[in-house]
Amino acid sequence: MDVKAIRTEGLSKRYGSVDALSDLDLEVAEGEVVGYLGPNGAGKTTTIRLLLGLIRPTRGRAEIFGLDSQRQAVEAHRRVAYVAGEANLWPSLTGAETLHLLGRVQGRVDSAYRDELIGRFDFDPSKKVRAYSKGNRQKLILIAALMTRADLLVLDEPTSGLDPLMEQAFRHSVHEAREQGQTIFLSSHILSEVEALCDRVGILRDGVLIDMGTLAELRHLSSLTVEATFDGSVPDLSRVPGVSSVEYDGRVVRCQVRGSVEPLLQVLAASSVHELLSREPSLEELFLAHYGASTEPEGKPPNAG
């Protein structure tokens, strides 16, 4: 069995009577870019703190490159770089001093790349940390993580506080890391970010991983949106197999199709269609489908079937 960048087995964390994370089984292969989605309080940060050995699991275990997150944390951390959602740094050190310290502690730094990142993020390292805005502190810990070119980047809502320009710079850096063969674990609730960057996506709700797959796989389980505008009479689509949620708006019809589109196309071909639009559900729609249907039994994708 090949070594996974991240592997967890039944990883669980309980605080008092609250299950922050329940029986997480997760595998991330080397070189993969995985998105980790969930609303606030779903257990994303708990997962990451368990992976990094900052907190101890109630049950189960986690490995990074085959090294136990708790017992071999230091060995594992040599290959990891982490960006927290909130940059809590030493206020009296300057940006340059912080980068120097964190680089020395990590043990490896690509200095040329660090300087390139400082330019790319338009970061002024001469100021003291307490004088930086939230966004600038976030840039600082991003640069500190990326400059090590670690084998695994663990990013916990890394772009909070960044402006759209810097968000672009961040995406560019993640693409670079991926081209270098680095593995990336990106926790986020910015769906467009995950959609643009990730190969696979895991969706977490109330501490339970309720779905995991490539975007294509997740979409396959869900329906396609079709919108047709007719020149003449509008046919009745509600009895076409696989079609649901039909909405009429004058000569425009909107509906959802699950499974094969063949029956729908046959009906449409018989009518005079002026315009036909179809699109895959966005990640946002997938996400809302998971969370909107709160009456669905847990652990089962609501749209599977």
Partner: protein
């Protein structure tokens, strides 16, 4: 799709949304005021009852008055003694001398913590963004601080009145209220100083340092005024001098309340005015936002620990060295008076000290130096916890750093600072003493300096033990042990406490060198206990979840 019209207006939570800041600050200040009110009360009650029990006859009391009443050295340390042949007079003198300084330190720390500390933590921003302005919020916070001072006064006044009713002590109710007012005057003024320096400085630590400098200056002016003839007027330019001028119980000079009230009011007005003029998070005095990178130390966790703790440790070391220089300087004069009076010697013998002259005086006053060094240890234990609580430690522990090596780095730096502080204390005392030809040898004083380190190591050990098992209680455990030990040792001997209670004081375990020779074996045991507690705490830290605030 039509937008849903709001169905109802937001409801008002609570009665006075504008008074939130006052309430929050008042609750925290009052809790702290209550705790210190107990300390103040305990001190006043034990001083009064201890004196009454120890000096039973008027002859013994007159002897004591003859000794301390004419002693420039003691005058310099805690102010001149008046009518200490009475229980009330002695209690007023001793309590005011010690508690006005303790109260000023409390006020300074509480004021800067509840204003600049809250701002540093970002909580102030949330409050000021609500239905208030910076000026109004600051005004409210000052009202909250006032509630803290009022709590301190109330508790102290109640206990002083009750103790005063005792036939042995005899302080009238009116006198007791004025006495309690005098005791909290220093605290009140320095609460305002803490609030003002919170506007001037860019960080809480800086604010505390500015206020600390004013407190030091104020103490120095008072010291010169009380020990040098012709300079008595200096008392009127020092906040601590005004407190001394109040002379509660004995003379009750209400006139001195004027500068105290005026000073406090002026600071309050200035604080509110400055709060409106500056940006949130900014300081009035220029703060260097940029600096040249100094990376020499920043190659690992121990270097980082040095870098982070250095400003604090250097400040403490300077304060300790200065204090030691002063007690060395006055040791001969003070010692001569003590040995010429059998009753004073007797009094000091009750603190477990024997010997002659300057050595005897230094044996007693080294307790104060030991207290300062123990406070350094407690502060560093709290600093380690703060680094964890504020999330800065995460940055190290997600990299290849063992928790144990982070902690060890911090402990090595602290231990080194404690040893240096002890050594400096011995050396500075020797310099001061030698300048007055006191004939106390360098070796003895360096040993005495080394002797005050083991109690501090114990305090550090307790702090680290708490860090391992009850991280949120580090401050309470470390500072609590120091305060408990100091009070037990200071008053335990006077009122004849049970030896089991006395033994819980880390200072009681320490031999009062240089009055007696150092008990190296006891010191070794104390260091071993401290190291063992730190080791157990370190093991527990490695096995627990990291915890924020």
């Amino acid at each position: 799709m039509p937008v849903d019209a709001p169905t109802r207006a937001p409801t008002r939570e609570g009665r006075r949304p504008g008074a939130v800041v006052a309430g929050l600050t008042a609750r925290r200040a009052a809790r702290s005021g209550l705790l210190w009110g107990y300390v103040f009360s305990l001190f006043v009650a034990s001083t009064a009852l201890g004196y009454a029990a120890t000096y039973k006859t008027q002859t013994a009391r007159d002897h004591l008055a003859a000794t301390f009443g004419t002693n420039a050295a003691i005058d310099a340390l805690i102010g001149p003694a008046h009518q200490i042949q009475t229980v009330a007079g002695f209690t007023a003198w001793r309590s005011l001398g010690v508690l006005s300084i303790v109260g000023a330190v409390w006020g300074l720390l509480a004021g800067s913590r509840l204003l600049r500390g809250e701002e540093d933590a970002g909580r102030w921003e949330v409050l000021v963004a609500g239905q208030t302005t910076r000026r109004r919020a600051t005004g409210q916070a000052l009202v909250g601080l006032g509630a803290g001072a009022a709590t301190l006064w109330t508790l102290t006044a109640i206990v002083t009145t009750v103790v005063g009713r005792s036939a042995k002590v005899h302080i009238e109710a009116g006198q007791a209220l004025f006495f309690a007012l005098s005791l909290v005057a220093g605290a009140t003024m320095f609460l305002a100083v803490g609030a003002l320096s919170s506007q001037l400085a860019a960080t809480r630590r800086q604010a505390a340092a500015y206020g600390g400098a004013l407190l030091g200056l104020s103490y120095a002016l008072r010291l010169v005024a009380d020990s040098t003839s012709g300079f008595g007027w200096l008392r009127w330019v020092s906040p601590l001098g005004w407190v001394e001028e109040l002379e509660p119980v004995v003379a009750q000079r209400a006139l001195a309340l004027l500068p105290i009230a005026g000073f406090t009011a002026a600071l309050v007005v200035l604080t509110v005015w400055l709060a409106g003029r500056r940006d949130l998070g900014a300081s009035v005095l220029p703060d260097r936002a940029s600096a040249l990178a100094r990376t020499r130390l920043l190659s690992g966790t121990t270097g980082l620990a040095v870098r982070l703790a250095r400003p604090t440790l250097v400040g403490w070391a300077a304060a300790i060295a200065l204090f030691a220089l002063v007690i060395g300087f006055i040791a001969k004069a003070a010692g001569t008076v003590i040995t010429s009076s059998s009753s004073a010697e007797h009094a000091i013998a009750r603190l477990g000290v024997s010997g002659t002259g300057a050595r005897l005086f230094l044996g007693v006053t080294f307790l104060m130096v030991a207290l300062l060094v123990a406070l350094v240890a407690a502060g560093q234990a709290v600093a380690a916890r703060t680094e964890e609580a504020e999330g800065q430690l995460d940055n190290l522990l997600v990299r290849p750093v063992h928790r144990a090596s982070w902690l060890a780095g911090r402990l090595v730096v602290t231990a080194t600072a404690l040893v240096i502080s002890g050594g400096l204390a011995g050396l500075s005392t020797w310099l001061g003493a030698t300048s007055q030809h006191s004939h106390v040898g360098l070796g003895d004083l360096v040993s005495a300096g080394a002797n005050i380190v083991p109690p501090a190591v114990c305090v550090l050990g307790v702090g680290v033990l708490a860090l391992g098992f009850w991280p949120r209680a580090v401050s309470t455990a470390a500072y609590g042990l120091v305060a408990w030990s100091f009070l037990v040792d200071l008053i335990g001997g006077l009122i004849g406490l049970n030896h089991w209670v006395l033994d819980t004081s880390v200072f009681h375990q320490m031999a009062p060198a240089p009055a007696v020779s150092v008990h190296w074996s006891t010191d070794a045991v104390m260091v071993a206990i401290g190291v063992a507690m730190a080791a157990v705490g370190g093991l527990a830290l490695a096995r627990r979840d990291l915890q924020g605030n």
